[in-house]
């Protein structure tokens, strides 16, 4: 009797996992290629829109528009941070890659929010759906991010558009999780009170539950933004342009200068982007009892117009 099979079984007995993976991939690409290509189309459209806008505009106009935008949706200090942040990005010579990264980032975060928020809401309403989604999220969050670069390349190819898709995949789980959690944690008596006054389920969700879950949901948005930035370096391996590529090239050529320009650019972008997105989460009360369009430059303009009449 050969004892080695029992003592070291895995030397001879193995599941053909790699074969399975290859076969299922081949099956997917040969049968559903058009489906995966179809997913790319709207992503490409959105990405091109943002990227062309950023490419074709003069640098100083971009700085002014972004600063005003930050002031409008958030506050003056965010506007100041945006202004100097963008100038710093220009001065360290990272302007062009930063604009590319920014376009990927905006597109990825917009898609993540557009999918993640409704899905999170749905998970909080229907226990059955949450039971299905939860293990998928666990899987998405534990699998090493390098691992799914390969299937993404096979299904979607390389470049900025697959980069957005892989970023969404990486960044969306916390948003779904925290939206679901935030809505489930809303005080039961506050929800019951809405019912007691005759609110429809939608009215209750929109006017009571989402506003009360807002801090948790905004934490989810923040996580999504941060993870998207983290992904920008990893995604550069599938030929996504931008700041991440600077870092990657810097690492591979031991070029400290380039790596630090890329790294610093990412940090600056992170600060600006996070501050502005948090501004969207401010309540009327946070804004000193003013609506979004009653503050900042628009509010100032309105005040001027009212004085003239």
């Amino acid at each position: 009797m050969d004892w080695s099979v029992i003592l070291d079984p895995f030397a001879s007995v193995q599941l053909p996992l790699s074969q399975w993976a290859n076969e299922s991939m081949t099956w997917l690409t040969s049968n559903y290629r058009s489906f995966f290509q179809a997913i790319k189309a709207p992503v490409k459209w959105a990405l091109d829109l943002v990227e062309d806008g950023l490419r074709d505009s003069p640098q100083s106009i971009i700085i002014i528009v972004f600063t005003l935008f930050a002031w409008q949706v958030a506050n003056r200090s965010t506007a100041i941070i945006t202004f100097f942040g963008l100038i710093a990005i220009g001065l360290i010579g990272a302007w062009d890659p930063a604009m590319t990264s920014f376009a990927v980032l905006v597109t990825a975060v917009a898609i993540s929010v557009a999918i993640g928020l409704p899905l999170g809401v749905l998970c909080s309403r229907v226990n059955f759906i949450w039971a299905l989604v939860r293990p998928v999220l666990d899987f998405m969050q534990t699998i090493p991010s390098f691992t799914y670069l390969v299937p993404v390349i096979l299904l979607f190819g390389i470049g900025n558009v697959p980069g957005v898709i892989v970023t969404v995949f990486f960044a969306i789980p916390p948003l779904i999780r925290l939206t679901n959690l935030g809505l489930r944690e809303v005080r039961a008596d506050l929800v019951e009170a809405a019912d007691a006054f005759g609110a429809t389920p939608f009215k209750r969700l929109w006017s009571i539950e989402i506003p009360l879950a807002r801090p948790t949901i905004m934490t989810g948005v923040n996580q999504t933004v941060m993870l998207s930035l983290v992904m920008s370096v990893i995604a550069s391996m599938i030929s996504v342009a931008g700041l991440g590529r600077l870092v990657l090239v810097g690492i591979s050529q031991l070029d400290l200068a380039r790596a630090s320009i890329g790294g610093l650019g990412i940090v600056l972008l992170a600060i600006i982007f996070d501050r502005i997105t948090q501004g969207f989460g401010f309540t009327r009360r946070d804004r000193g009892d003013r609506g979004l369009w009653e503050q900042g430059p628009m509010g100032w303009l309105r005040g001027k117009l009212r004085h003239q009449n």
Partner: protein, 347 residues
């Protein structure tokens, strides 16, 4: 021909059962047959009996207090009235209409227009201003903005909070928050108020103020009120009638006087034993047969004891009890002293 209106209660609750748990149906049958009580139902069916065979009615404009200790099923009952929870068995009628027969839209209209609710822990929405909290019921009904604001402000005025419209709940004290809760319940001018221990979370002095103000307001607006409390004194003060609950059952329903003077179960009599009967005793309960001396001051049969006492302290030796014409009986100072003695002994 004139139509004869059938007598109708604002709220009618008939043989209501609520059993929580997966095996509620089995538990219901067993409980109805008297095979299981609350503890037994939990053991055999893992079901909690929240309400057991409760029946009561509230007439238009009346305040009915439901009184019972924590866990006796008060909140469960009141949530059935606007169908926040659904009965395992039994019926709830609002002005003769079965609430279980309403479709979702009709139910929302009932909740928005007909019924206002006040909660124990206020349940004000922290992200909405005071005015927006109060106007929510109107907002839900898509009332025009200006009208919402006006109604909210007039409701706040009524509870003494005029001028607080643009503040937020966390800027108000507990007592003020519950005033807002009251204003919110009344803003849409509903006919029925449901109040689930509205004053229980407040300090004694503030509670007394709110009780007094609510009674005053209630006399003005005459709203049918189902008022829940775990405090017997509060029930005696607020209720036109009181229903006493124990373990999901209503033990006794009656006026404060009848509850105190004629408790029907051991539980109720233990409960009311701490309450002095003196305030509720009337001439008919202590008079003795026979004719009083001529010249004795005359009183009606329902005269309360404190008034009779005052007559003695003013020098009367004996009182004549009449219904205006015929003599019903007499009360001597000994009768009064005996009543006081009995009351002192029972506590």
């Amino acid at each position: 021909m004139t139509e004869i209106m059938p007598h109708q209660n604002a709220i009618d609750c008939q043989n209501l059962w609520k059993i929580f748990g997966a095996r509620a149906d089995e538990a219901l049958v067993a409980a109805k047959n008297g095979e299981v009580d609350k503890d037994e139902a939990l053991k055999r069916f893992s079901c909690v009996i929240g309400v057991a065979d409760a029946s009561f009615s509230v007439a238009e404009g009346e305040i009915l207090c439901i009184m019972g200790l924590s866990g006796s099923g008060k909140s469960t009952i009141i949530r059935h009235v606007n169908r926040l929870i659904e009965p395992t068995d039994g019926q709830i009628l609002i002005e003769g209409r079965d609430v279980m027969g309403l479709n979702p839209k009709e139910l929302r209209q009932l909740r928005a227009r007909k019924i206002g609710m006040v909660f124990q822990h206020m349940a004000l929405w922290p992200h909405k201003s005071i005015a927006d909290n109060v106007a929510f019921g109107l907002e839900v009904q898509k009332t025009p903005k200006g009208q919402q604001r006006a109604a909210a402000e007039s409701a706040l005025e009524k509870v003494g909070l005029g001028g607080w419209s643009d503040r937020y709940p966390d800027q108000l004290s507990g007592g003020m928050q519950q005033r807002v809760g009251l204003a919110r319940a009344m803003a849409a001018d509903p006919d029925i108020l449901l109040m689930d221990e509205p004053f229980s979370a407040l300090d004694p002095l503030i509670r007394k103020d709110l009780q007094d103000e609510f009674l005053k307001l209630s006399r003005e607006v005459k709203k049918t009120t189902l008022f829940i409390t775990h405090d017997l004194d509060e029930a005696m003060k607020m209720g036109d009638r009181i229903a006493i609950m124990k373990d999901g059952r209503i033990d006794q329903t009656g006026t404060p006087e009848s509850i105190v003077l004629r408790p029907e179960t051991d539980y109720v009599s233990r409960f009311v034993s701490s309450i002095s009967t003196l305030k509720y005793i009337s001439a008919s309960e202590i008079m003795t047969p026979g004719k009083a001396k001529s010249g004795a001051p005359e009183f009606g049969a329902s005269t309360p004891l404190p008034v009779l006492l005052a007559a003695f302290t003013e020098g009367a030796e004996e009182l004549a009890i009449t219904d205006g014409e015929t003599h019903l009986g007499r009360i001597s100072s000994t009768d009064i002293l005996q009543a006081v003695q009995t009351d002192l002994k029972r506590v």
